[in-house]
Amino acid sequence: MLFALEVAISGLLSGIMYSLVALGFVLIFKASGVFNFAQGAMVLCAALTFVRLLELGVPFWIAAGITLIVMMVLAVVIERIVLRPLVNQPLIILFMATIGLNFFLEGLAQGVWDAQVHGLQLGIDDLPWEPLANSTGMLISIFDLSAALICGVLVASLGVFFHKGRIGRALRAVADDHQAAMAVGIPLQHIWAIVWAAAGIVALVAGALWGQRLGVQFSISLVALKALPVLILGGLNSISGVIVGGLLIGAGEKLAEVYLGPIIGGGIENWFAYLLAMVFLLFKPYGLFGEEIIERV
């Protein structure tokens, strides 16, 4: 029983890390109604910039600060060059633009820095947390705990920021109808820049945490794939959905690995999340918390 609890907890903790990646998608979807294909590339950009600065001997917090600024500048540039000319265009065109952006960012990040594998140490040990281990015998990694804490705080604060009164309304308005949003005086451009900057911050944190886990290299952009089932489960436009979706998938995945793995063979972690999401899709096509789109015909 204790073991099951331990498995569930470590699953929940890694689930929050999925939530974090998924959050980047949700922010941009909420503000522009578009699925940002380039989110993974943004994670790569942030992680690579951060790790290379550290390797150049830049102190930790300064490197984090510089990377943050880089991501914000990137957001403003993306708004200017990619998004602004596409106002009022069909969403599919915006989506195509993010595909282009994805390859551009991947190339840029690896061009400016390099395509090697870099180890990243955040100074948080990936060892069991002793007080807990001693008192209950459960082995829960300090790194998992801290990462979950950081993600939780970030997700919660962004959730509050983007849900409160005016900003929440402005976001949803922009996502619903560009032209009408501009007609009532919502500063479309600022909203987009703010949201992409927030997605950049999320990418940095995700890049750093996953970077320590997986090493910083091209394949870190694939953590975006981990976010997809979470998005299906939670709904593309719901911040609370992202949290719950991440937790469900994290815990489900770990429990399935441990308890179903021996029966149906290992490697469940690679596909279980998608299976869960797909089963879910049958019952709630808009996700747990997604807004249903009610069309009158």
Partner: protein
């Protein structure tokens, strides 16, 4: 119609505005003016360029040439944000509401520029922001009362019937307390009763708040009833401009509406 209101000076003047989309000349050298406190109807057959004209006025399209003079300042193009800041509000021909949001929230967005406090400040100082929100809430509730849509306050507008959506869209425009209200076919697709209600609202807004209104409408009965002046467009050109009764007798207007061939002798 004479209701004792005093129509004032020119609020907005359009001079020689032309807009083309590729080979289509949507507007050709159109000039007219909108005077303070009047209700101006812009009419014309389908494709005459009426919507294009409104889109120029609130900055969606940039004219190829020509100018707009608003409040004594001349613009060769108006950005949508500028138009909003100058107090130009509008509704759209095919209802452009924020579909997922409630009636209340939709009308709230109309107050965006009235709630001038910086978005960032709002994010940081939650307390004062709530106070501001409450004040604006009252303005929004007044509009909801005025338009008689209390019952649908909390309903996502995507679920409302078309006639009510048009009313909510008017509400959103009114929430900005506009100087100039542009309405693109506010009564299209409505039944008789809904049309009468909408007419009443438009007249009330004009009389009670002195709001200047330019509206596009196909229903001639409505146009004759509520407008002070009529501008007629046909194939992107202005063919008449004047009092409704005069315009109605105009032979060019009659021809345009009866579809007389343009090259006929």
């Amino acid at each position: 119609m004479t209701n004792g209101k005093s129509i004032g000076d020119t609020l907005l003047r359009v001079d020689d505005v032309s807009v083309s989309f590729g080979a289509v000349a949507a507007l050709t050298d159109v000039s007219f003016e909108i005077r303070e406190r009047e209700i101006l109807a812009i009419i014309g057959p389908n494709g005459a360029g009426k919507t294009t004209m409104l889109n120029v006025l609130n900055g969606v399209y940039q004219p190829d040439h020509g100018t707009m003079t608003f409040n004594d300042r001349t613009y060769t193009r108006m950005r949508p944000s500028e138009a909003a800041e100058h107090g130009i509000a509008r509704t759209f021909q095919n209802v452009a509401l924020f579909r997922g949001m409630t009636t209340l929230d939709n009308i709230f967005t109309g107050r965006t520029l009235k709630m001038k406090s910086n978005l960032f400040m709002q994010a940081i100082y939650w307390g004062p922001a709530q106070k501001v929100e409450r004040e604006h809430r009252q303005a929004v509730e007044r509009i909801i009362d005025f338009l008689e849509i209390e019952e649908i306050r909390k309903v996502p507008v995507g679920r409302l019937p078309y006639g009510l959506q048009k009313r909510v869209e008017l509400g959103r425009a009114l929430a900005a307390e506009p100087k100039l209200l542009l309405l693109d076919e506010p009564m299209a697709g409505m039944n008789l009763e809904e049309k009468e209600d909408m007419c009443r609202f438009i007249l009330d807004v004009n009389e009670e708040f002195g709001t200047t209104i330019a509206l596009i409408e196909h229903d001639m009965g409505v146009v004759m009833d509520i407008s002070d002046r009529v501008v007629v467009l046909d194939y992107g050109r202005k063919i008449a401009d004047g009092h409704p009764d005069v315009v109605r007798q105009d032979s060019a207007v009659i021809d345009a509406y009866l579809g007389v061939a343009h090259d006929a002798a």
